[in-house]
Structures are given as C-alpha cells and as structure tokens.
C-alpha cells in the first residue's frame, strides 16, 4: 500500500503538493503496536539523529520540543534549524526528560530506545501516559530486536521501510506534501546511483564494512548480511563477505582476511570512544597488521571511507549510496 502511494508520488512528482491533508483521528499499525493521533502533534521529541533529520527535511522544526541521540554533526543544511531545537541529550535521554516536554509524538530510529526493552522507556510506559511513541519500521519490521546486541534481521533490510517511515512520519505530522516530495527525490537519486554502479560492471566484487572495534586488535564490528550497509552493497552489486544475520556482528580478522574481499569499506565518525572509531586508526591498522596488510584490498588500495551516519536508516543513506558509487568508479581496476 505504502509502496503504491510512493510510486504514485514519484509519477506525480512534477505536480507536487497534491497529497490530501491527513484525516484525524489517524490510526496506524507500528510494527504490531496500534497508534492513534487525534490531531497534528506538537512538542515532538525525536530520539535518534536519522529521525531528527527526517523531521528537519519535512520542515517540522517549529513543532519540535527536543532531540536526542546524536552520533555526528547535524547535516550542514540543517545547522541553523538545529540551533532552534533543544538538544535534550547527546546520547540516550532519560524517560522523564522526554515526558517532561509533554510530547504529542515521540519517534525514534532504534527499537532499543523505545521497544520491548527500550532504554528510554517501553512502549507501554509511553502509552500509559497517552504519548504515541513510534519506532521507524526500518528498525522493527522483519527484525527481532531481542536477539543479538543490535537485534537480528529476519529478512533482508528493505529500503521500502525507509520510505514507509518518512511517509508515516509525514502523515502523522500532516505534512504529506513534503513527505511525498522528499520520497520522490530520494527514490530518483537511489535509482540513479544503482544505474551508475551497474554500468561499472565489476566482476564478482565483494566487500566488508568495518564500523569499529572495542579495541584496535580485537574482532571488529562489521556490517551483518541483512542490515542497511548490506542492502547498499547488494543494490550496487557488491557481495558482503559477512553472512551473519546480526545487525553488527563481531567477526574475526582471520575470517575476513581469508574471505579476501575486493573492497573494504570503513566508517568515518565523530565518536571517539574506541581507538578504532577514528578512520585514520583503521587505515593504519589495516596497513600495519601482518595479516590484513596482505589482503588484496589493502595492497591495491581498494579502501572506501564511508560516513557512519550513511549506514543508519535515514535520508543520508542515499548520500552514502551515491558516495559508495563514486568511490567504486574511482577504484583501481
């Protein structure tokens, strides 16, 4: 259904601003949890940078009361907008700090923030206070969040869940016009990037995506076989050498080196908790370690640096897809 609406939006892109205003009360099913909105919500508290940036892209900042859970600098385009919205916490906010804003809507990008075991609060806790808490389907549809550190995907991540998230957030906020325009734009860019990558026609190209490591030498956190980076790789015709269904499994360097992927993607981030958060430290490790330095990708300089935020489900995913395509085109043949 959502897909149909979105396809229609794409076809009608030139005739924008035709979407009907939201009819309230609006009810929707959020990964099995029923939500009801009696009117366009105010005092929105958004938990998670991706969610926050989607709301900024919908120009909903005037109805936002707070943000939390930041990983990197806000997108430069929204720097000024972000100044006007209170940042409740850099990391996870406390339940009371959120509730205290009397929010009409609390969307989040991660189930482990507001879910069965939510660290901010469970869905029941928010429901008890009459606050609709919403988890983006990118992190709860087809995913078991009680298995594995970041949950385990029951099916491959589908970009449609991102468009569904934007569509639903826009509908809740009564901003469907802007939502449709945003989705149409992202879809067009996604298709263009995929076309460009397929035109490169890389033969049996494989990849590993290294996010970080608890410390430099231990088994690294890498992108699982069904998560968001895996979707990007698949869309662009790269085979992920990691097959675990966990979102970010730890896999030994021995296994990675033996798989000898043709490309290594490493994450760049502002976070500096572990030494391996720094992408320069990752590069230095790959070149120095007696085993990884022998990998084809390291010897031939096939290392792509990708923004960590592009690996979260949000509008930056498409930026990441484009960046990955650009980098693939520049790789030594």
């Amino acid at each position: 259904m959502t897909r149909l609406i979105s396809v229609a939006a794409l076809l009608l892109a030139p005739l924008m601003a035709q979407a009907a205003p939201t009819q309230y009360p609006l009810t929707l099913d959020n990964c099995g949890w029923p939500l009801t909105f009696d009117g366009p919500p105010d005092n929105v508290v958004s938990i998670g940078q991706s969610t926050t940036e989607i709301l900024y892209a919908l120009e909903a900042q005037d109805r936002m009361a707070g943000t939390a859970l930041w990983f990197n600098e806000v997108l430069p385009a929204y720097a000024e907008v972000n100044e006007g919205v209170e940042r409740i916490a850099d990391n996870m906010p406390g339940f009371e700090a959120v509730v205290n804003k009397r929010p009409g809507f609390v969307p989040t990008m991660f189930d482990w923030m507001i879910g069965a075991q939510g660290v901010v609060g469970t869905r029941e806790q928010f429901a008890d206070l009459g606050i609709p808490a919403y988890v983006m389907p990118t992190d709860c549809a087809q995913k078991n969040n009680t298995v594995g550190a970041d949950g385990t995907r029951l099916a491959d991540f589908d970009i449609a869940t991102l468009y569904q998230s934007i569509d639903e957030i826009a509908a809740i906020m009564d901003l469907s016009d802007r939502g449709d325009a945003l989705i149409a734009d992202l879809r067009a860019r996604e298709a263009a990037a995929v076309d460009r990558a397929q035109a490169l026609d890389l033969p049996d190209a494989s990849a590993v995506v290294w996010f970080s490591s608890a410390h430099l030498e231990v088994d690294p956190y890498v992108a699982g076989g069904r998560g968001i980076p895996a979707w990007m790789l698949r869309a662009l015709g790269l085979r992920n050498v990691v097959t675990s269904d966990e979102e970010w499994p730890t896999v030994g360097w021995e296994t990675i080196a033996r798989a000898d992927p043709s490309v290594i993607v490493i994450a760049r981030m502002d976070r500096r908790r572990f030494p391996a958060d720094d992408h320069e430290a990752k590069l230095e490790f790959l070149a120095r370690d007696p085993v990884t330095s022998q990998m084809t990708a390291v010897r031939e300089g096939r290392i792509i640096i990708l923004d960590a935020e592009a690996m979260h489900a949000g509008i930056r995913m498409i930026d990441g897809l484009e960046a990955l395509t650009d980098a693939m085109a520049d790789l030594p043949r």
Binding site: N91, A214, H215, L216, E217, D219, P249, F274, V291, Q294
Partner: protein
C-alpha cells in the same frame, strides 16, 4: 587420601621426574599444535607445519601470505597467551586456596578482576589518560590498585598468621570487589552509551581475539615467574595445609611466605586479566581438579595445576572459535560451559578417593 607417603629411592624418583617432564612437554606441545591448527577458518596441518618450519628453522616453503600471517601472527600468540593465562590463573587460585585454607578462594577474591574492570572502564569510557593509556594498561593499574587496597584493609583489620587472619583477607576481598564493581557500574551509567557498555561487556567476559606477540612477551614470563616462585615454596604450602600456626611451628616464615606468594599470584592474575579480560572458572576449579588427579602434595600439585590450567584454557579457546561457525564466543562463557561438566565428571569419579 593419604598425605604422607614414604619417598621412593632417589634414582627411581629421578627417572620418574624425567619421564613426567617428557610427558608434560608432550601434552603441552600437543595442545599448542591443536590451538594453532584449529581456528575460525580451515587451514591444513601441512600448511601449519610449513609456516612453523619457515619461521623457526628458516625453511623456505612457498606459502600464501595471509595463511602464514594468520598462523604466525594470530593463532600462535593467541594460543601461547591462552596457555600462559590458564597456567597463571590456576596457580593463583591454588596459592590462595592453600594459604587461606578456603576451597572457594579464586583470583577474583582479591578484587583483581573488579579493579581491572574499573581501570579498563575509566580508560575507555571516562577517557582517563587522554588516549595515551591503553585499555590493558588501565586494567593492570586498576587490578594492582584494588589488590593493594584489599591487602591494606586485610592488614589493618588484623589479618596475619592464624585462622582469623585468613578470614580477614577474604572479607577485605569481598568489600574491595563490591566497591570496585560499583565504581565500574557508576562510570558506565554516568558516561557510556549503551553501545560502549556492550563493547566493555565483551571484554569483561574475557576475550583473546586481540592477542598479538607483545602480549606473549608479557603473559608468558608472568606465568613462568609465578610458577617458579610458587614451586619453590611447595613445601611451605604443604605445611599450610594444617593452618598458619602449624606452619609456623614447622619453622615456616609464615608472614614472608604469605606476602611473597600472594604477591606473586596477584601480579600474575593482574597481568592476565589486563590482557584477556576476566576469565572465570579456571582459577577456582582447576586447582581442585588437579588435587583430585595428583593428590594434595604441592610438589606435584603446582606443576599439575599449571599444566591443566594451560591445556584447559587452550582447549576452551579452540572451542570458542569453532562452537558457532563464523562467530567467536567470549571465552569466559566457554570455560564455565565446558569446564563445569568436566569438573562434575572428575568429582563423581573420585567420590571414593576422599
């Protein structure tokens, strides 16, 4: 179980010692070889032997650089450290159980594990040291600080020769462990995101995946020093079997022996925990298993504990790599998961012995 058996004639004893030494060396070599041959990915035994020949005797086999690197730079140091760590923790547990005459004593009793965790958390989460101190450095400092605190508290509260003194160090250890565990939780709750806490949990359960050659240069000497120091005091440890007062009456310098042995044991355990994280079960159970297998005399008990500890941890590490294909389990999980049933079997089979 008979404690004092008559000594056999000297020549026969010498022969038996030589045979035992050869046996120990063979078991250890077999364990090491297994640790190098079995890993996350299959590498043939031939390749393993060729890599060892290249490195040790300058042979010139043409080999895949990645496979050679995995064997020489990942698996060999990892196996050596697993062995050293198992031996060190087992000796530490043995010393504490014998000196304190407490069957439940283990390395973590002295607050070493709790202190190491606090040190690691302070470095990685709270950023103490400004990135100049490695997590293992922080863990070592934390372990030694906690042990110093526990030892000081035990002394101030009247710990010393005698049954009461042994009780005091146990109580001081409990207080110290609780304090440092609380500090760890406090630091995590105060400044870590859930994501960091997870990375730390992985380490707190014990992890050998990041072990490289520099760790070998630290762990193996630490284990050897502890082994030599404790083995040299085997007779004194025998005397402690009947309590510190009896040991004193037998002419054992009780205070000095306690300080030297507990100090050596604590140092070894602190070094191990700083490299691999807190690996439970080994220090507690291996000395008991050794006692059931070779008897209570420390002349045999000390080397037996070290050997069993080394082989057990190497075996546990192998299992941690192969139990779930494509994923490495925390070794602390495997030691208890595999060790507990093995220990149960030993207990049952020796029920008549004591």
């Amino acid at each position: 179980m008979s404690v004092a058996t008559a000594s056999p004639p000297l020549t026969r004893q010498g022969l038996r010692a030589a045979r035992q030494a050869a046996w120990v060396a063979a078991v250890l070599a077999a364990a090491l070889l297994a640790g190098i041959c079995i890993g996350e990915t299959p590498i043939s035994v031939t390749t393993v032997l060729q890599v060892l020949a290249n490195r040790l005797w300058g042979a010139d086999h043409a080999l895949d650089a990645i496979e050679a690197g995995i064997i020489w730079s990942y698996r060999l140091p990892r196996t050596l450290v697993a062995g050293a760590c198992g031996a060190g923790l087992a000796i530490c547990g043995l010393v504490l159980q014998s000196l304190l005459r407490n069957a439940l004593a283990d390395p973590w009793l002295l607050g070493i594990s709790a202190g190491a965790s606090t040190g690691a958390v302070l470095v990685t989460v709270a950023g103490v040291g400004g990135g100049m101190v490695a997590m293992s450095g922080g863990a070592l400092m934390g372990a030694l600080t906690a042990f110093a605190l526990v030892a000081g508290l035990a002394r101030l509260s009247g710990g010393g020769p005698g049954a009461r003194g042994a009780g005091q160090i146990v109580l001081a250890g409990i207080a110290g462990s609780q304090l440092f565990n609380a500090l760890t939780s406090f630091v995590i709750a105060k400044s870590a995101s859930a994501e960091q806490a997870r990375g730390l949990m992985f380490w707190l359960l014990g992890n050998l995946s990041g072990v490289r050659w520099p760790d070998v240069h630290l762990a193996v000497p630490a284990a050897l020093i502890a082994l030599v120091v404790v083995a040299a005091h085997a007779r004194s440890l025998d005397a402690f079997a009947f309590g510190a007062e009896s040991a004193a009456s037998l002419g054992v310098p009780v205070r000095r022996v306690q300080v030297v042995l507990i100090g050596a044991a604590a140092m070894a355990a602190a070094v191990m925990v700083s490299i691999t994280g807190a690996i439970g079960f080994v220090g507690l159970v291996v000395p008991h298993a050794a006692r059931l297998l070779v008897g209570v005399r420390h002349g045999r008990l000390v080397p037996a504990s070290a050997l069993i500890g080394a082989v057990f941890l190497i075996g546990a590490d192998i299992l941690s790599r192969v139990l779930i294909p494509g994923q490495v389990l925390p070794i602390g999980v495997v030691t208890a998961l595999v060790g507990a049933p093995i220990f149960a079997v030993i207990l049952i089979r020796h029920r008549g012995a004591s």
